[in-house]
């Protein structure tokens, strides 16, 4: 196969897997889409109640603040937790044929991206906020997907050889939720610790998306963007290298 044909095949394959991923979610639940929105809505109401009425957070439009954060978090945690065991779950394919295995991970991320986009669209339609800041959504989505693909490739590759990685990821995710400014805002954190929060690439992404969707103030955009890119790039390269070295022998561990 020449290069162009190879690329065409890769794109076709990735898109077909993504479609399958999206379809399979709706095949058994008529209100499949509703569930996608209902979940963050429920989370928003429960967490919102706690921090508005029991512990009072002084954040403007707290429910709106919470909802955009939860949409992004759900994208990340669903993609990451679904990707981690994917090579083991798709072993019937891996044992049988030679094909671009990274497409399995990418299709999970893309199908969740599809749902996130719908979530954002609804969000914008409800808040009716059309400012120029909205354009920040695109670099934000790009960075978010880039980081999610990188970390998913890393842990899904490790999970083939070490099956407890899947449990480690589940544990990590429940801590990670609180290490990301979803229920709280960054100015509630002492200044000297803030730097640590930004080592988590999701912090910048949540902040920039809130800036884009609801005009929440944001400072030092480019410094934070640079740090985000750096961390994401390191994770992505690490994920890519581990995947490249391990994927040719996935079959041995199935």
């Amino acid at each position: 196969m020449n290069k162009r044909k190879k690329l065409q095949h890769w794109i076709d394959f990735t898109i077909t897997l993504t479609e399958r991923e999206i379809k399979s979610r709706y095949k058994h639940a008529v209100f499949g889409f509703l569930w996608m929105v209902l979940n963050p809505l429920l989370q928003m109401f429960i967490i919102g109640m706690v921090f508005q009425f029991f512990i009072r957070f002084e954040i403007e439009n707290y429910f709106e603040f919470l909802f955009s954060g939860l949409l992004i978090w759900n994208f990340f945690s669903l993609s990451f937790s679904k990707s981690t065991p994917i090579f083991v779950n798709e072993r019937h394919l891996i044992k049988k044929a030679f094909f671009p295995k990274e497409s399995l991970v990418i299709s999970v991320v893309l199908s969740n991206l599809f749902h996130l986009l719908i979530g954002f669209l609804l969000f914008i339609l409800i808040t009716m906020n059309f400012s120029l800041n909205l354009f920040w959504i695109f670099p934000g989505l790009f960075l978010l997907s880039f980081f999610t693909i990188g970390i998913s490739l890393l842990f899904s590759s490790l999970n083939v050889k070490y099956r407890d990685i899947n449990f480690i990821v589940q544990a990590m995710l429940s801590l990670w939720f609180y290490a990301t400014p979803i229920v709280y805002s960054l100015d509630m954190i002492p200044e000297s610790f803030r730097f640590l929060i930004y080592l988590n690439p999701l912090s910048f992404i949540v902040e920039i998306m809130r800036f884009a969707l609801s005009n929440y103030p944001m400072t030092d955009v480019f410094v934070k963007l640079g740090l985000n890119l750096l961390v994401s790039l390191i994770v992505f390269i690490l994920g890519f290298i581990v995947f490249r070295n391990e994927s040719k022998n996935f079959d041995d561990w199935m």
């Binding site: 394959f13 077909t16 019937h92 049988k96 044929a97 030679f98 099956r163």
Partner: protein, 251 residues
């Protein structure tokens, strides 16, 4: 006429790590799991020429499947080199890559992409794939409604339409009714006439004997014999002797 090499295998070693339960990260760093190593292939070298019909025989655990998996790119060798010319399609565990929830139609696209066809090619050959499989209206039903023979027929049909240069098969192709078996054999013979390379793995020695022009016998990760039909007889003798000496232990 100089023969073109289709597959060139040079001193391939494949090392597996034996693991009894699921391997874990904590188990490894604390050294709880013992990971014994095992060589499935021990410096195997083999040249297969374009248009050959090669049968690979050997007892269970001799390394046949490992060799074919490396040829198909499903796993990679620990050391040594392999070069294949053209597209390799493996028909081992035919249809195992199917999704039970998806319809036959959706599975044709998915499976076609998995074995390396692009969408345009699948669209073009779609009707022909369905016709060859003989599934008719079942093509729009989900795969769990299929009998196992139907799944195999669909898998075989997709694979032969992917226009492979090297085709890897096992005795499973003989599954299905008489009519389909004949159709499948015709197709394979046609491939052979077109100069495509065919590799067959089987325990069904008579079948190999009548269908292959070269036979390779693998035993414990090494090539024991490589030649024409006489290899089958050598192998049969070996089996007879072995089973005698084995049974001796039990008496």
């Amino acid at each position: 006429m100089r023969k073109k090499v289709a597959i060139s295998i040079n001193k391939i070693v494949k090392e597996y790590v034996l693991h009894h339960q699921k391997p874990t990260f904590f188990g490894t760093i604390f050294g709880i799991e013992d990971r014994k190593k095992f060589n499935a292939l021990k410096k195997v070298s083999l040249k297969i020429y374009k248009g050959e019909k090669v049968g690979i025989i050997g007892s269970n655990g001799s390394g046949k499947t490992t060799l074919l998996k490396i040829t198909a790119g499903i796993t990679s060798q620990t050391s040594g080199t392999i070069k294949t010319t053209g597209k390799v399609v493996s028909l081992i565990e035919l249809g195992a890559g199917f999704h039970q929830e998806l319809t036959g139609r959706e599975n044709i696209f998915l499976n076609g992409l998995v074995i390396g066809m692009d969408k345009e090619e699948i669209h073009k050959k779609f009707d022909s794939i369905v016709e060859f499989s003989g599934l008719g209206d079942f093509i729009n039903s989900p795969l769990y409604t299929y009998s196992s023979g139907m799944g195999l027929r669909l898998g075989f049909s997709i694979a032969v339409h992917s226009n492979p240069d090297i085709l890897i098969l096992d005795e499973e192709i003989a599954v299905g009714d008489e009519k389909f078996r004949e159709k499948a054999m015709n197709k394979i013979n046609q491939f052979s006439k077109e100069g495509k390379t065919i590799i067959l793995v089987s325990h069904w020695l008579d079948y190999i004997k009548t269908n292959c022009n070269r036979i390779v016998w693998l035993e414990k990760g090494k090539i024991k014999a490589d030649g024409k039909k006489e290899v089958i007889e050598i192998y049969r003798d070996f089996i007879k002797k072995n089973s005698k000496s084995n049974s001796g232990h039990y008496v």
